[in-house]
Structures are given as structure tokens and as C-alpha cells.
Symmetry: C4
Subunit: 285 residues, 4 copies
């Protein structure tokens, strides 16, 4: 391990605080970040309400700048305290961090880019990073496993639903026509999915007896086929429950912590790991 | 056990009637209370219907006073016949009893507090206390156990749904704008949840092709992810069914009655109990 | 067995045709009856469509009389060919038969009783009698068993849903008021159930931010608790499937036919039965 | 095997490309066909959007002719390279191919037959033929098996739902009448199904208190009985999962390919098959 590969002690410390959640400081940082993210998303929501924005525009504006500067500092800190900044910058969360911080600056440079401001709401995605702790609950991962196991079936199912929607939508377009709101085939397909999923806005609704008859069939179909994804996921959950109760071999699981490799940013290291299992570089103690 | 801790015989009797349901008198009292609560809630409903209130205002008014006085007397009786009244007064049901009895009196003192009158509908919550008998059916408790076991999973699920709704809502706000009813981000989020849960009022509905395309995705998503809570609860029920059929050890369950400690108001005593399992004070025979 | 207890041969024959479905004639009669019932229900539907009634009133009127006379003859035949007519007349199907036949006659005697004519739609209930064959499919009975086993749980569940609806409805009445359509507490409760069951007509919809926030909670609640009845019924079906596969003892089931006792009208006799298992009187061979 | 039964080598080659998907050429052909079908369906959709059709009518027209000619050539090729063309022409896919290719030609001969053009959307059904590969995923077939096993139960269920809808619809017609939109019994039945399946358009909605009360019952019913199909399908999936894990006998499954008999068009031949298992004629190597 070469000397230049090592981060200076304070950067190591910073890395531990910002990227990990095993030390009290790391936990505190995650908590503060969580609160500020939620707060900033509420700010964005309030700004979009015309009545509130009209009255409190000044305050909202100042608070937004405070939040943006905080995120800017955090973004720079994240780049500094990692050995290979490019790993962070071009990672999923790195791009999200950048996109959710930059809009306020851009809105100064280019007028009319106010629409970009709403992009800041993507900050909420950052919450998932903080919630990596949730992984330890084991619940989210069971959920994910169940969905993953049913993925192939769900794809086949969704594909069949889509084809049926296109066929039914075209049929309804032929039968109902412009008067009832079925102005084009894409609109009719949109209506079919609104009906099949039992959402039923009612902005478009059949008025001819034939149209209503076909709508009835679509509804009963939608009411019935909801059983399919439900059945698949449920069978999966039941199977997992059974597997878990059959699974008594000791030592198959190992406890992992929230450490994150300062070089390649991989997570999921064993508690007693000294080197990253992905790139082999030294982990912080 | 000191002498002042003991209730006088008639108070003991009253306690048995009001708080318990093992004697014929106790059962009769619960039944009467049940009927009066339902009756009083119907009264409140009728009062809120303008046409009915206009014609029968006098009768409704008198009946409401009769009910209120009955509840007042019951409230005072509950306080008198318990050893530590504060235990009742500040319990969940004590507060509900107070809040649902007081509004009519207040409406006399302060004009314009008619809104408070609707608070009386919370009387309905009192029905749950009477239904403690339902516990013996074992059904409600199985229901509760299944929901409790799935709680962690449901929380993770709800959290994911909420974050997705905020993201999607913001996106729709950007795409659709004021014309279609997406006047602010909170309104858009409201619409997203209306769509995701397949409620679909139709008061707000996308009109642009892009908006309708994203709405389609949200609907299919909502149609699909309903499988998740269903799957979780079902797997739980299936597991419970299996546990029950495997569970043949005798003596693991003991029959409990509706007795309720006159000192600390704890419920769930064994039929043969002479002292409260919580505070150790003597139970009524 | 006394002589007067016995039906004359041709009445015996008629009983076998009308009440049973084991002979070719009996099957044919059931089929004809099925077709006429469906046909008569379609007649009633068409009559209610103003445009069709205006043009084809004469034809519909004549056809309705033909059907009514057929049903009248059938009703009389059913009374004649049974030993104890009162058993049929006051049975569930006897009353349905009477109520669905009489309206046309009444509409002649009393003017303005046209509303009664729609009562004829209850003829459809008669289809269930003909479908007693469906019992042999075993499916309907499994369905019934699953629902029956879950009945107690479903009642507890429905009760909880209703109480929650009353509470939520009252709350929405307080928050939203007349402007949004929440004109009375019953109307608000109606809206709450429309929302909770994810139907969502949109004739009434919250317009204040607080109202929309509570509506959001109700929707998520409704989206979640649908898991409860589904979970219960599914667990029941799963259990039944397992029981069935464990159940290999021979001779536990016996084949029954559609014969029906000419005295007491009980059904479900064994193929080799000579006497009714209920009243002991002789069955037709 | 007689000489005239054999296809010439280039027809054999063509048959392999068009009807099968085991050779690289066959796979490529399927992929191209898939893309063109999807593309042609998008074309039809765009044509139906008035704004787009107005601007790009020329381009869409030319592209549609290109696609139609491609499909015509394909249709002729399919007839040529099969031993018994009638087997293809009158098969399900043969008819679909014909119906989805002919409309453009017809619209030239008969004016006013533009409606026929939308029939071209049925081209989408052809996608299923290409997806015969999906069979190998095993998922679609499990789905189909689960639905098939539950078919009898689903039929009984649907039948009960329909009868209940007719009864409820008639009742609502009597109660609500014209003002609320319940103009005829068929319309009322349509509304009942809209409500029972929790679609809830809101184009028709009860306005009288009695009507709203019955609507509430229908909604709760619909909310509850959705548990039935879900429960059935789920129990089926669970059973299949269990069967699969119990099924350890080797050699019960055999690998099949996408070959398709040049004589009778049967599919599902074993990899090592030399003769069709259906008609016994020689398969292409």
C-alpha cells in the first residue's frame, strides 16, 4: 500500500463521519442530514403553494440559500475525504447530490430556468442513503428478495396487461369515439389502464351501451387479475417464512457494519474486516 | 391491606356492574350503555342533516340533553366506585368519556362553540371498551397479532410509498401545471396518492400526453405494490394457522374474565385470581 | 305408509321432472326454465330502457305476458305435485316464485304500481335453485366453507372499518364543511367509505389542505387494510388445500343425487336411499 | 414418406427461419418481426392522434404502406414454405395475420371503410407468437397453470358477482331513478359493477340517502369479495411452490425447442425428435 493512497488523519475522520454511521459522530451527522433533507423538501413544497410563496417569499428564499450552501459544503467535503473522488462523483448518489444542489445557482445565471428549481425535490432520494441502517432491520431486504424472486413472473404479467390494454383501448376507440372523450388510441389506452387498475377517474367514461358493456368486462378483468401479482408475492413471502424456520445452520450470516471503503465506496464490510472485499485497499479502523 | 384501601360494599357492587361484565347486572349495564352510545351517535348524525334538524330540532335537543345527563351520571359513578379515581380520569377512556360529555355544557357557556358538538361523535370510541368481550372471540387478537408481526415491514413499505409519492408528485407538478389542477407540489402529491391507492377521484386528472403516460406508470405501480401489504399479512396469517395446529401442549392458555382491578384498572385476570397481577391489591370476589 | 300420503303416478312423474334433475326430462325442464328466467330478466332490462320501450312496447308487453303465464302454470304445477304444498309455498324459493310472478297481475288491479314490475328482476334468484347441480362441482361449497370459516374475523374487521368510518367522517365534516360537498355527517361517512374502499367517485372531494391530508391518510389506510380480508380468506384456502391433500381415508364421501323428498322437500339424498333422511317418508324411485 | 410431401431445400430453409427460432437466422427474423410489429402499432396510434395526423399525414401514410407490404410478403412466404398451407391459413395466427394485413387494401376499394384501419391494431396479437420463447422461462406456464387450476372456482365466483350485480342494479334503479343518472336497469347494473370493482368513475353517483346507504353496502361487499379471487390464486401458487420443492424425481422434464412441424404446425418437439409427435411426418433437421 503506497503512502499517497492513504488519507490524512483528519480526512479519515471526516470520511468516517460523512460516509459511515458506526461512530456517535457519524450517527449525529446522518441525523442532522436527514432533518435538513426533509426540511428542504418541505421548503420546496411550500414555495410551490402560491398563497404561501406570496406572503413568505423572503423567508423561504433565505432559508433555501442556507440549505443550498449547507449541501454545497457537504458535497465538497464528500469529494475531499474520499481517495478516488471520481468514484463518488459519478456514482448514483453523487449525481443526485449534484443535481439537487446546483439548480439554485443555475437559476441565477439563466433567467427562466425556475422549472429546474423543482428538480431539488430529488434531494429526497438522498434519504435512502441515510437509511442504509434500515438494511439491518432485515425487513427491507426480505421485501426486496420477495420482489426479486417474483420479478420474472411480474414482467410476464405486466407485459400481458399492456398488450391487453392496447387491444381493449383500440376497441373502445372504435366504439366510443370523440364524444365520450376517446379522442385517440393513446387516450383510449390511458383510459383502459385507468379502468383496469380500478383507479377510475371518470374524466373519460363510456356513454354507449356497447362501450359500457366492454368497460364492464375490463373492470371485472382488472378486479380478477389483481389476484395474480398478489398471489405471486404472497406465495414468495410464505416460502421465505418457511425457509427461515427451516434454516437452523449456525454461522451462515455474519454481522456487517456501515463502514464504506474510502477508495471504492463499496459497503457491506464484515465487522472484523481490515481490507475492502472489493478492491482490497485498507479500510479505516 | 389497609382499611381505607377497601371500597364500601355498595361501591364494590357498583364497580362490578360498571367496570366488569361477568355478572348478569354487569352484562345488562354494558348492553344498555352500548345501545345508548349508538343511539347518541345517531342523534349527532341526524342533527347534522339540515333538513332533519330544521323540523325536529326540539326533539333532538331534548334527547341530546337526556343522553348527556346519563353520560354525566355514569362519569361521576365511574369516579366514585374506583379506589384511585386519577387512574380512571387520566386513562385513555377517561379522557374520551370526559371529552364526549362536556361539549353540550360548553356550548351554553361560550356561544359559537357549536363545532365542539361534533366532538361528541368520539363517544363511539367508547364502544371498544364494551367490546372487551370480543377479546374472547380470539379473532380480534389474532388480527392484532398478525398486524403487529407485520408492523416493521408495513412501516418500511409505507415509507417507500410516501417517498415515491413525493417524487412522482413533483414530477407531475412540473409536467402538468395549473391548468389540469396540479396547482402546487402538495396538491400533486395528494393526487399521486389518490392515484397510487387506486382511489381516483377525478377532481384532478392529467391532460397532457406526458402526464397521462406518467399517470399510467403510477397506476400500474399502485396496482402492483398492493400485493406487498397483502402478501405480508397473508403470510403472517398462514404462519399463525400452522403454529396453532402444531401447538398441542396442554395448559399454555388460561381462561381470563372481564374483571378489572378496582385499584389500578388492569384487566385480564385469571378466573381464579384473588389479587391483581399488576399492583397486588385485592380483587372483588 | 298410508295410501293418501302417496301421490298419484302422474303427480309423481311431474314431481320428478320439476323438482329433480336426474332424469333426461328433469334436466330438460331445468334447462328450459333456466333459459326462460334469463330471457325474462333481459325483457325487464329492455323495458326499462326508454328508447327501446317506446319503439317495441307492444312486443315486450306480449312477451312479458307469455313469460308470466308460463311462470304461473309452473307455480301451480309445483303446488299440485308436492304432498305438503305449504312446505313449498312458505319456503324461500316458494316466496321468491310468488313475488316474481304476481306483479304483472297487480299492476292491472292497482294503477301506479308499475314500480312493482321491477320486483320481477328477483326472478334471477331462481337461477340458484336450478344451479343445485353446481353443488357437485364442489367449488361453490369450498368457497362457502372458506367464507364461513373466516366469518368471525370478517365481522370483527367490518365492525372496526365502520367505527373508523364514522370517526373519520365526522372529522372530515368538521374540517371541510358544506362547500366541498360534506353537507352532513352521514354524507361524510358515505364519502369516507367511498375513499376507504378505494372506489373514489369524486362527486365529493376535499378541497382544503387539511382535508386532503386526512383524505390521504384514509386512502393509505384503505389501501393497507384490504390486506386483512384477503389474508384471512387466503390463509383459509391454503389450509383447505392442505387438509384435502392429507385426507386419504376412503369412503368418507358418498354420492348424492338431485332427488328431493316429495313430502318435506329436503335435498341431498344418497343414490341408494329409499326413504327421506329427514322425515322418513318414501322417496320416488 | 412420399416425395411430394417433402419441401424443396430453400423452402425448408425458409420454414426454419420464419416458423422457428433455434437458428441465428430464425432468431434474427423473429427480432425484426417483433420490432416491425411494435413499430406498426405505434404508427396506428399516432395516426389516430388528430394533431399528429394533420401534420405528418404523408409520412405516416408512406410508412404504413411499407409496413403493409412487408406483412404481405411475410404472409405469402408463410403460405409457400409450409406443406399444408390450409393448416396455417385457418389457424388462429393465420387469421390474425390476414385480418391485420388486409384493411389498408380494402380502404382503397371501398371508401368509408376507414374504421377497418383500426383493426390493424390486432397485429399486436402476433407478438405472442414470437414470444413462444417465453415459454421456456417457465413463468408464463406457471401463471397459466395457476389460473387454469382456479378456473372452476373463478367461474362460480364471477357468476355470483354477476347475479348480485343484476339484483343490486335493479334495486338502485328503483331507488335512485333518472335524476342521479340511473336511467335504466342496464345502466344501473353498469354502475353496480363500476362500484363493486372499486373503479368508481363518478359519472353516475347516488344522491338520495337510501341510495348512498346501498352504495355503501355494495362498496364494502366489493372491498371484501376481492379477497376471494386473490385467495384462490394465492393458494394455488403456494401449492405449486410446494409441489415443485417436493418434486425431486430426475428425468420428468425434457428439453423442447422452438421447432414446428412443417406439415401440421404442431410445436413443442423434443430436441432429439425426428418425427412430429402429432402427425408423424418428418421434421426438418
Amino acid at each position: 500500500m503506497k503512502e499517497e493512497d492513504k488519507l490524512s488523519p483528519w480526512k479519515n475522520k471526516l470520511h468516517e463521519i460523512i460516509y459511515e454511521a458506526d461512530t456517535p459522530m457519524g450517527k449525529l451527522f446522518d441525523l442532522i442530514l436527514f432533518v435538513i433533507i426533509i426540511f428542504s423538501v418541505i421548503l420546496i413544497m411550500l414555495e410551490s403553494v402560491k398563497a404561501i410563496d406570496a406572503e413568505y417569499h423572503e423567508i423561504l428564499f433565505v432559508l433555501e440559500w442556507v440549505v443550498t450552501i449547507f449541501f454545497t459544503v457537504e458535497y465538497i467535503a464528500r469529494i475531499i475525504c474520499i481517495k478516488k473522488p471520481s468514484h463518488y462523483i459519478f456514482s448514483f448518489y453523487g449525481i443526485i447530490d449534484f443535481l439537487s444542489t446546483i439548480p439554485l445557482y443555475i437559476s441565477y445565471i439563466f433567467a427562466g430556468s425556475q422549472v429546474l428549481l423543482a428538480v431539488r425535490a430529488f434531494r429526497l432520494l438522498r434519504v435512502f442513503r441515510i437509511l442504509k441502517l434500515a438494511r439491518f432491520l432485515g425487513e427491507a431486504s426480505q421485501l426486496k428478495r420477495a420482489l426479486k424472486a417474483s420479478r420474472a413472473k411480474i414482467t410476464v404479467f405486466l407485459f400481458a396487461v399492456l398488450i391487453a390494454s392496447v387491444m381493449m383501448g383500440t376497441l373502445m376507440y372504435l366504439i366510443e369515439g370523440d364524444e365520450a372523450g376517446f379522442t385517440s388510441i393513446p387516450t383510449s389506452i390511458y383510459w383502459t389502464i385507468v379502468t383496469l387498475t380500478t383507479v377510475g377517474y371518470g374524466d373519460i367514461a363510456p356513454i354507449t351501451p356497447q362501450g359500457q358493456a366492454i368497460a364492464t368486462i375490463i373492470m371485472l378483468l382488472g378486479y380478477g387479475i389483481i389476484a395474480v401479482p398478489t398471489g405471486m408475492v404472497t406465495a414468495e413471502f410464505t416460502r421465505q417464512n418457511k425457509d427461515k424456520s427451516n434454516d437452523d445452520e449456525p454461522g451462515r450470516y455474519v454481522h456487517i457494519n456501515t463502514q464504506c471503503c474510502p477508495t471504492c465506496s463499496k459497503e457491506g464490510h464484515r465487522d472484523d474486516a481490515t481490507h475492502c472485499y472489493n478492491c482490497g485497499s485498507l479500510l479505516n479502523e
